[in-house]
């Protein structure tokens, strides 16, 4: 734990997709936990290279969609049968058949909101402050450069520079919090 309290982490730049891919495998195998890869586009296979598990966004979608369908059916039953039933065209006051299209749309509507909300919640976004943005070099992370950041809170942070150098980093800088 050689890092002082103000250090956020060590930021290493890589210039190619293959470079960052190999480096991520090496950092993962070195046993790091508090680290991340930053790329301008998702790199195929990077989740495995980093050792990430399957994303949990789908659970949010399911809950949202289920709520939507249930809300639709209940709402229509309540309005058109329970609270104020009116016979229209001799049709039944309630059947799931005529309630289906609206419930279906609400399934998708609430499922979509839950997906967006779930994705943002899992990513802890929106985030108002991020020490990485202090790095001028990091602006290229949304353009054509690739980065690995190992955070100072990782127990193996002391050896981070050596690991990143060995992985072939084009440039390494210390980011302060």
């Amino acid at each position: 734990m050689s890092a002082n309290a103000k250090t956020y982490g060590l930021l290493a730049q890589f210039d190619t997709a293959a470079g960052i891919f190999e480096a991520a495998i090496q950092v993962r195998d070195a046993g790091y936990r508090k680290w991340d890869v930053f790329t301008p586009f998702p790199i195929h296979g990077m989740d495995d290279a980093m050792g990430l598990k399957n994303s949990k966004v789908g659970y949010f979608t399911f809950c949202g969609g289920f709520t939507g369908f249930f809300t639709g059916m209940t709402m229509i039953w309540f309005m058109n049968k329970f609270d104020y039933g009116l016979v229209v065209g001799g049709k039944p006051l309630f059947t799931p058949l005529y309630a289906f299209p609206v419930s279906y749309e609400l399934t998708i509507l609430l499922g979509a909101f839950a997906t967006l909300g779930g994705m943002l919640a899992l990513n802890r976004l929106p985030k108002l402050y991020n020490p990485l943005f202090k790095s001028e070099r990091f602006k290229k992370a949304t353009d054509d450069k690739f980065f690995i950041c190992i955070e100072a809170t990782d127990p193996k942070f002391a050896e981070a520079r050596a690991v990143l150098e060995k992985a072939g980093a084009a440039a390494i800088e210390l980011v302060e919090d």
Partner: protein, 494 residues
Amino acid sequence: MANAASIHAADVPKGKQHDPHAAPPKIVAIDPPQEFVREPLVLNGRSLGWLTERIAGVCEGKMPLWWWPAFIVSAGLMTMMFTLVAYLISTGVGVWGLNNPADWAWDITNFVFWIGIGHAGTLISAVLFLLRQKWRTSINRAAEAMTLIAVACAGIFPVVHTGRVWFALMPGWLIPAPNANYIWPQFRSPLLWDVFAVSTYGTVSLLFWYVGLIPDLATLRDRAKNKVRGFFYGLFALGWTGSNRHWSNYEKAYMIFAGLSTPLVLSVHSIVSFDFAVSNVPGWHTTIFPPYFVAGAIFSGFGMVLTLLVPMRTLFKLEDIITTRHVELMCKVILATGSIVGYAYGMEFFIAWYGGSPYELYAFKNRAFGPYWWAYWSMISCNVISPHLFWFKWCRTNMVFVFFVSIVVNIGMWFERFVIIVTSLHRDYLPASWGYFAPTWVDVFTFVGSFGLFLTLFLLFIRFLPAIAISEVKGVTPQADPHHPLGGAKGGHH
């Protein structure tokens, strides 16, 4: 390194390290013969940095000279439309040419026309994504923007056609809440399903579009030269860094959005068709309507995508990203969906005869040979004949010709909706009430003005947001592939 080695098994170069007598490797990569190699999605081997510069450059720099006259004319038309809507609301629907029994005419024609246009955007963004059609990345952003704008244009007509619009907007008529007599909206009507379908469609399309924009907004934030741009792009980028932990959730969310939007887009135009099919008006009461409407919607939407993108790729010099191959593929979608539409026209006539209902048969004879014969045959020549020109490669690759056909498709699909609505209504079961619908100048200029709204919003979109999905296009280049030599992969390092 055992893991790394297995990941790279597909990468073993031919001939190197491969002893013919040794045990075969798990996967042998064989280069396909030259004629099977696909044309790259980004031409001239452009670098990742070039893609950022070129696409982001469009909305960062000054707009070219033509943009201003185009914007002023569009905004003028838009103003005209809103003025005419104000005239309609203050005076009543009598300013339109509606009569009884043609109670629906240009208003609902325009609604179905615009909502159908939107469908191509969702097809490109969602259905082609699920089908792993990587060429969609160059066109999906602009097509989705087109969807949103088209839905906005569509939404105006059913609201204003009610005459007393405040009833359409106040809770208790369409929005589920009790009205003054404590009566709830009536969910047995497809018209109310339509309210839910269209509003869900607009909302979900907006969310999907925004999710796709987040990484590109971050790119614009990081490139911003002044504080104001940096602030606004940064605000909407939500602090996006391109973290792979984020990408992991993001990609899952994106896939789910595609999975939600696909049944959504099919349901929306199906429900729009229920507005007609659930009634018992001859010419409307047919079970073929939902698939026929969806195919027609995609057909018209691709027409509009080409109308917008063919000039855009030339004017902003994006030919390396929206390549001739992209245009050709869109032409093929037009050919396929146009054929489905043509088949549906034929099948409608066949069933009208085979079904044995004299009213149904009369409605169809009246369509083709009645007072609106000119509308019917305009529709047939635009929608049945013109897409079949795309069997010829020259027609698919000549940009002026493609643009011309795309306009013809748009015209034809407007006529289709007009034919379905007006020819079915103007002669219903009661010959005493038969009449002829003719539009007034308010009808005509309101519709023309809706193109002003459409183009104004699209021009603003090009001005302020990246018209091509930067991060997605980068993702389909060879430089993005860690196992491709251009992505930096070194051969024979195992």
